[in-house]
Protein backbone atom coordinates (compact mmCIF):
# COMPACT_ATOMS: atom_id res chain seq x y z
CA UNK A 1 0.00 0.00 0.00
CA UNK A 2 2.97 2.30 -0.58
CA UNK A 3 0.79 3.99 -3.15
CA UNK A 4 -1.30 5.39 -0.30
CA UNK A 5 1.59 7.48 0.93
CA UNK A 6 1.73 11.03 -0.44
CA UNK A 7 -1.99 10.96 -1.16
CA UNK A 8 -4.80 12.50 0.83
CA UNK A 9 -5.12 9.37 2.94
CA UNK A 10 -4.64 9.88 6.68
CA UNK A 11 -1.10 8.47 7.23
CA UNK A 12 -2.25 6.56 10.32
CA UNK A 13 -5.01 4.80 8.37
CA UNK A 14 -2.53 4.10 5.56
CA UNK A 15 -0.25 2.46 8.13
CA UNK A 16 -3.22 0.47 9.47
CA UNK A 17 -3.96 -0.94 6.00
CA UNK A 18 -0.28 -1.70 5.44
CA UNK A 19 -0.13 -3.74 8.67
CA UNK A 20 -3.38 -5.51 7.77
CA UNK A 21 -1.91 -6.43 4.40
CA UNK A 22 1.11 -7.89 6.22
CA UNK A 23 -1.25 -10.14 8.16
CA UNK A 24 -0.74 -8.35 11.47
CA UNK A 25 -3.49 -7.86 14.02
CA UNK A 26 -4.22 -4.21 14.74
CA UNK A 27 -6.38 -1.93 16.84
CA UNK A 28 -7.37 1.67 16.26
CA UNK A 29 -7.57 4.31 18.98
CA UNK A 30 -9.49 7.52 18.29
CA UNK A 31 -9.91 10.66 20.38
CA UNK A 32 -13.68 11.13 20.62
CA UNK A 33 -13.85 14.13 22.91
CA UNK A 34 -11.53 16.57 24.66
CA UNK A 35 -11.79 19.14 27.43
CA UNK A 36 -9.30 21.79 28.40
CA UNK A 37 -5.84 21.85 26.89
CA UNK A 38 -5.75 18.33 25.46
CA UNK A 39 -2.94 18.23 22.90
CA UNK A 40 -4.70 16.18 20.20
CA UNK A 41 -8.09 17.11 18.80
CA UNK A 42 -11.13 14.87 18.54
CA UNK A 43 -10.74 12.55 15.56
CA UNK A 44 -6.99 12.01 16.06
CA UNK A 45 -5.99 8.42 15.41
CA UNK A 46 -3.34 6.04 16.66
CA UNK A 47 -3.00 2.54 15.22
CA UNK A 48 -1.40 -0.22 17.25
CA UNK A 49 -0.07 -3.56 15.96
CA UNK A 50 -0.04 -6.81 17.90
CA UNK A 51 3.69 -6.50 18.68
CA UNK A 52 3.21 -3.05 20.22
CA UNK A 53 4.35 -1.05 17.18
CA UNK A 54 2.26 2.09 16.83
CA UNK A 55 1.79 5.11 14.60
CA UNK A 56 0.01 8.40 15.22
CA UNK A 57 -0.90 9.86 18.60
CA UNK A 58 -3.81 10.58 20.89
CA UNK A 59 -1.97 12.90 23.29
CA UNK A 60 1.41 14.54 23.62
CA UNK A 61 2.89 11.18 24.56
CA UNK A 62 1.47 11.05 28.11
CA UNK A 63 -1.07 8.27 27.70
CA UNK A 64 0.17 6.38 24.63
CA UNK A 65 1.65 3.61 26.78
CA UNK A 66 -1.69 2.93 28.48
CA UNK A 67 -3.49 3.08 25.12
CA UNK A 68 -1.14 0.46 23.65
CA UNK A 69 -1.95 -1.80 26.59
CA UNK A 70 -5.70 -1.30 26.08
CA UNK A 71 -5.25 -1.92 22.33
CA UNK A 72 -3.55 -5.28 22.98
CA UNK A 73 -6.44 -6.20 25.27
CA UNK A 74 -9.17 -5.34 22.73
CA UNK A 75 -7.30 -7.39 20.10
CA UNK A 76 -7.69 -10.37 22.46
CA UNK A 77 -11.28 -9.70 23.54
CA UNK A 78 -12.51 -8.58 20.12
CA UNK A 79 -14.71 -5.91 21.73
CA UNK A 80 -14.21 -2.13 21.53
CA UNK A 81 -13.71 -0.08 24.69
CA UNK A 82 -14.02 3.55 25.64
CA UNK A 83 -11.33 5.06 27.85
CA UNK A 84 -11.13 8.27 29.78
CA UNK A 85 -7.99 10.06 30.92
CA UNK A 86 -7.85 13.09 33.16
CA UNK A 87 -5.28 15.30 34.76
CA UNK A 88 -2.19 13.68 36.23
CA UNK A 89 -1.69 14.01 39.92
CA UNK A 90 2.04 14.61 40.15
CA UNK A 91 2.15 12.82 43.48
CA UNK A 92 0.66 9.64 42.08
CA UNK A 93 1.99 7.22 39.49
CA UNK A 94 -1.28 7.04 37.59
CA UNK A 95 -1.44 7.67 33.87
CA UNK A 96 -2.86 11.02 32.92
CA UNK A 97 -2.39 14.24 31.05
CA UNK A 98 0.22 16.53 32.54
CA UNK A 99 -1.20 19.38 30.45
CA UNK A 100 -4.36 19.49 32.51
CA UNK A 101 -6.73 18.34 29.79
CA UNK A 102 -9.18 15.48 29.73
CA UNK A 103 -9.84 13.10 26.83
CA UNK A 104 -12.23 10.34 25.88
CA UNK A 105 -10.98 7.62 23.56
CA UNK A 106 -12.45 4.76 21.60
CA UNK A 107 -10.13 1.76 21.25
CA UNK A 108 -11.38 -0.81 18.78
CA UNK A 109 -9.93 -3.97 17.27
CA UNK A 110 -9.89 -4.12 13.46
CA UNK A 111 -11.46 -7.47 12.68
CA UNK A 112 -11.19 -9.19 9.32
CA UNK A 113 -14.30 -9.18 7.21
Amino acid sequence: MDSLRHTNVDPVLAQAVEWLDQGRRIALATVTRTWGSAPRRAGSHMVIADNGDFSGSVSGGCIEGAVIQAALEVMESGAPRTLEFGVTNEMAWEVGLACGGRVHLLVEPVVRG
Binding site: L4, H6, T7, N8, V9, D10, L13, A14, A16, V17, L20, L28, T30, T32, R33, R41, A42, G43, A79, P80, T82, L106, E108, P109, V110, V111, R112, G113
Partner: protein
Amino acid sequence: MNSGLLRELVKAQATGRDVVLATRLSDGAQEILDAATPSSRLVAPADASAAGSLADALRTGTPRTVETPGGAIFLRPYIRPPRLIVVGAVHIAQALVPMATIAGFQVTVLDPREGFATPERFPGARLVKQWPDEVMDTLAPDRRTGVVALTHDPKIDDPALIASLESEAFYIGALGSRKTQGARRERLGALGFSEKSLQRIHGPVGLPIGARTPEEIAVAVLAQVIGALRG
Protein backbone atom coordinates in the same frame (compact mmCIF):
# COMPACT_ATOMS: atom_id res chain seq x y z
CA MET B 1 -14.03 -1.91 13.18
CA ASN B 2 -14.37 -4.22 10.27
CA SER B 3 -11.30 -4.33 8.00
CA GLY B 4 -13.56 -3.85 4.96
CA LEU B 5 -14.83 -0.60 6.47
CA LEU B 6 -11.25 0.58 7.07
CA ARG B 7 -10.40 -0.13 3.44
CA GLU B 8 -13.51 1.72 2.29
CA LEU B 9 -12.50 4.75 4.40
CA VAL B 10 -9.02 4.74 2.90
CA LYS B 11 -10.43 4.37 -0.61
CA ALA B 12 -12.82 7.28 -0.02
CA GLN B 13 -9.89 9.47 0.99
CA ALA B 14 -7.73 8.31 -1.92
CA THR B 15 -10.51 9.12 -4.40
CA GLY B 16 -11.48 12.45 -2.85
CA ARG B 17 -14.92 11.36 -1.62
CA ASP B 18 -15.98 13.24 1.54
CA VAL B 19 -17.39 10.79 4.09
CA VAL B 20 -18.24 10.51 7.77
CA LEU B 21 -17.58 7.43 9.89
CA ALA B 22 -20.43 7.07 12.39
CA THR B 23 -19.65 4.99 15.49
CA ARG B 24 -22.09 4.11 18.28
CA LEU B 25 -19.95 4.50 21.38
CA SER B 26 -21.90 1.97 23.45
CA ASP B 27 -21.06 -1.02 21.26
CA GLY B 28 -18.77 0.19 18.45
CA ALA B 29 -21.36 -0.37 15.68
CA GLN B 30 -20.23 1.60 12.63
CA GLU B 31 -21.10 2.75 9.15
CA ILE B 32 -19.90 5.18 6.53
CA LEU B 33 -22.19 8.06 5.60
CA ASP B 34 -21.91 10.83 3.04
CA ALA B 35 -23.97 13.69 1.68
CA ALA B 36 -25.86 11.29 -0.60
CA THR B 37 -26.48 8.75 2.19
CA PRO B 38 -27.00 10.91 5.26
CA SER B 39 -29.08 8.49 7.29
CA SER B 40 -28.94 4.87 8.19
CA ARG B 41 -29.60 2.39 10.95
CA LEU B 42 -27.38 4.41 13.32
CA VAL B 43 -28.70 7.85 12.40
CA ALA B 44 -32.46 7.78 11.82
CA PRO B 45 -33.72 9.73 8.77
CA ALA B 46 -36.15 11.63 11.00
CA ASP B 47 -33.42 12.78 13.38
CA ALA B 48 -33.03 16.36 12.18
CA SER B 49 -30.47 17.25 14.84
CA ALA B 50 -28.21 14.33 13.88
CA ALA B 51 -28.65 15.11 10.18
CA GLY B 52 -27.64 18.72 10.85
CA SER B 53 -24.55 17.57 12.76
CA LEU B 54 -23.64 15.25 9.92
CA ALA B 55 -23.93 18.02 7.34
CA ASP B 56 -21.86 20.32 9.55
CA ALA B 57 -19.19 17.66 10.06
CA LEU B 58 -18.96 17.14 6.28
CA ARG B 59 -18.65 20.88 5.69
CA THR B 60 -16.11 21.73 8.41
CA GLY B 61 -14.25 18.47 8.89
CA THR B 62 -14.75 18.77 12.66
CA PRO B 63 -15.73 15.57 14.50
CA ARG B 64 -18.48 15.59 17.11
CA THR B 65 -20.65 13.31 19.22
CA VAL B 66 -24.43 13.45 18.74
CA GLU B 67 -27.01 12.08 21.14
CA THR B 68 -29.64 9.99 19.36
CA PRO B 69 -32.49 7.83 20.68
CA GLY B 70 -30.20 4.86 20.01
CA GLY B 71 -27.32 6.29 22.08
CA ALA B 72 -24.31 8.55 21.55
CA ILE B 73 -22.91 8.46 18.02
CA PHE B 74 -19.40 9.75 17.25
CA LEU B 75 -19.20 11.37 13.80
CA ARG B 76 -15.68 11.45 12.37
CA PRO B 77 -15.49 13.22 9.00
CA TYR B 78 -12.80 12.44 6.45
CA ILE B 79 -12.92 15.29 3.98
CA ARG B 80 -10.57 16.44 1.29
CA PRO B 81 -7.64 18.44 2.67
CA PRO B 82 -7.43 22.20 2.27
CA ARG B 83 -5.75 23.28 -0.96
CA LEU B 84 -2.98 25.78 -1.47
CA ILE B 85 -2.34 27.24 -4.91
CA VAL B 86 1.17 28.65 -5.15
CA VAL B 87 1.57 31.04 -8.05
CA GLY B 88 5.23 31.33 -8.98
CA ALA B 89 7.63 28.39 -8.89
CA VAL B 90 10.28 30.56 -7.24
CA HIS B 91 12.82 29.98 -4.49
CA ILE B 92 10.31 30.67 -1.68
CA ALA B 93 7.92 28.19 -3.31
CA GLN B 94 10.61 25.49 -3.20
CA ALA B 95 10.51 25.75 0.61
CA LEU B 96 6.78 26.49 0.93
CA VAL B 97 5.55 23.56 -1.17
CA PRO B 98 7.13 20.73 0.90
CA MET B 99 6.30 22.49 4.18
CA ALA B 100 2.65 23.00 3.24
CA THR B 101 2.44 19.41 2.01
CA ILE B 102 3.73 18.13 5.37
CA ALA B 103 1.20 20.38 7.14
CA GLY B 104 -1.58 18.57 5.24
CA PHE B 105 -2.34 20.89 2.33
CA GLN B 106 -2.88 19.65 -1.19
CA VAL B 107 -0.52 21.98 -3.03
CA THR B 108 -0.56 23.04 -6.68
CA VAL B 109 2.25 25.10 -8.17
CA LEU B 110 1.43 27.36 -11.07
CA ASP B 111 4.03 29.01 -13.31
CA PRO B 112 3.93 29.44 -17.08
CA ARG B 113 7.62 30.30 -17.43
CA GLU B 114 10.14 27.91 -18.93
CA GLY B 115 12.36 26.23 -16.35
CA PHE B 116 10.44 27.26 -13.24
CA ALA B 117 7.74 24.66 -12.48
CA THR B 118 9.93 21.63 -13.14
CA PRO B 119 9.89 18.26 -11.34
CA GLU B 120 13.60 18.74 -10.57
CA ARG B 121 12.84 21.88 -8.58
CA PHE B 122 9.59 20.50 -7.09
CA PRO B 123 9.90 16.73 -6.64
CA GLY B 124 6.52 15.07 -6.33
CA ALA B 125 4.52 18.32 -6.50
CA ARG B 126 1.45 19.00 -8.65
CA LEU B 127 2.84 21.35 -11.30
CA VAL B 128 0.84 23.39 -13.79
CA LYS B 129 2.89 25.13 -16.49
CA GLN B 130 0.20 27.50 -17.64
CA TRP B 131 -0.87 31.12 -17.25
CA PRO B 132 -3.21 31.74 -14.31
CA ASP B 133 -5.87 33.25 -16.60
CA GLU B 134 -5.93 29.91 -18.46
CA VAL B 135 -6.29 27.63 -15.45
CA MET B 136 -7.70 29.45 -12.43
CA ASP B 137 -11.22 28.68 -13.71
CA THR B 138 -10.37 24.98 -13.72
CA LEU B 139 -8.61 25.10 -10.35
CA ALA B 140 -11.72 26.87 -9.03
CA PRO B 141 -10.60 28.12 -5.61
CA ASP B 142 -13.27 27.53 -2.96
CA ARG B 143 -13.62 28.29 0.74
CA ARG B 144 -11.10 25.51 1.54
CA THR B 145 -8.49 26.95 -0.86
CA GLY B 146 -5.69 29.42 -0.17
CA VAL B 147 -3.82 31.25 -2.94
CA VAL B 148 -0.41 32.83 -2.60
CA ALA B 149 1.19 34.81 -5.43
CA LEU B 150 4.97 34.90 -5.35
CA THR B 151 6.19 36.03 -8.78
CA HIS B 152 6.30 39.84 -8.37
CA ASP B 153 5.19 39.87 -12.00
CA PRO B 154 1.77 41.50 -12.51
CA LYS B 155 1.26 39.53 -15.74
CA ILE B 156 1.25 36.32 -13.68
CA ASP B 157 0.21 37.42 -10.16
CA ASP B 158 -2.67 39.76 -11.07
CA PRO B 159 -4.86 37.26 -12.97
CA ALA B 160 -4.42 34.77 -10.12
CA LEU B 161 -5.34 37.40 -7.54
CA ILE B 162 -8.35 38.54 -9.59
CA ALA B 163 -9.68 34.98 -9.81
CA SER B 164 -9.07 34.55 -6.08
CA LEU B 165 -10.88 37.77 -5.17
CA GLU B 166 -13.84 36.55 -7.20
CA SER B 167 -13.82 33.28 -5.23
CA GLU B 168 -14.44 32.31 -1.61
CA ALA B 169 -10.74 31.48 -1.07
CA PHE B 170 -10.02 31.49 2.67
CA TYR B 171 -6.62 33.10 2.15
CA ILE B 172 -5.10 35.32 -0.52
CA GLY B 173 -1.51 36.47 -0.19
CA ALA B 174 0.85 38.35 -2.47
CA LEU B 175 4.58 38.84 -2.16
CA GLY B 176 5.93 42.32 -2.53
CA SER B 177 7.03 45.44 -0.70
CA ARG B 178 4.54 48.00 0.57
CA LYS B 179 5.25 50.01 -2.61
CA THR B 180 4.50 47.00 -4.81
CA GLN B 181 1.33 46.35 -2.83
CA GLY B 182 0.24 49.97 -3.31
CA ALA B 183 0.73 49.78 -7.07
CA ARG B 184 -1.15 46.46 -7.15
CA ARG B 185 -4.06 47.90 -5.18
CA GLU B 186 -4.28 50.73 -7.69
CA ARG B 187 -4.28 48.34 -10.66
CA LEU B 188 -6.92 46.06 -9.13
CA GLY B 189 -8.94 49.01 -7.85
CA ALA B 190 -9.06 50.37 -11.39
CA LEU B 191 -10.65 47.07 -12.43
CA GLY B 192 -13.48 47.73 -10.00
CA PHE B 193 -12.43 45.83 -6.87
CA SER B 194 -13.51 47.68 -3.75
CA GLU B 195 -11.11 48.65 -0.99
CA LYS B 196 -12.82 46.11 1.28
CA SER B 197 -12.35 43.38 -1.29
CA LEU B 198 -8.67 44.27 -1.75
CA GLN B 199 -8.15 44.04 2.00
CA ARG B 200 -8.51 40.29 1.58
CA ILE B 201 -5.04 40.26 0.02
CA HIS B 202 -2.36 39.69 2.65
CA GLY B 203 0.59 41.78 1.56
CA PRO B 204 3.38 42.10 2.46
CA VAL B 205 2.83 38.36 2.72
CA GLY B 206 3.41 36.25 5.83
CA LEU B 207 3.40 36.80 9.58
CA PRO B 208 5.85 39.51 10.69
CA ILE B 209 8.53 37.30 12.24
CA GLY B 210 11.47 39.09 10.66
CA ALA B 211 11.94 36.35 8.07
CA ARG B 212 14.96 36.92 5.83
CA THR B 213 15.72 33.81 3.82
CA PRO B 214 13.34 32.19 1.32
CA GLU B 215 12.91 29.31 3.79
CA GLU B 216 12.06 31.65 6.67
CA ILE B 217 9.60 33.56 4.48
CA ALA B 218 7.96 30.23 3.61
CA VAL B 219 7.47 29.56 7.34
CA ALA B 220 5.93 33.03 7.79
CA VAL B 221 3.57 32.49 4.83
CA LEU B 222 2.51 29.00 5.90
CA ALA B 223 1.85 30.21 9.46
CA GLN B 224 -0.37 32.98 8.10
CA VAL B 225 -2.23 30.54 5.84
CA ILE B 226 -2.86 28.18 8.79
CA GLY B 227 -3.99 31.14 10.90
CA ALA B 228 -6.53 32.08 8.23
CA LEU B 229 -7.76 28.48 7.94
CA ARG B 230 -8.14 27.85 11.67
CA GLY B 231 -8.73 31.35 12.95
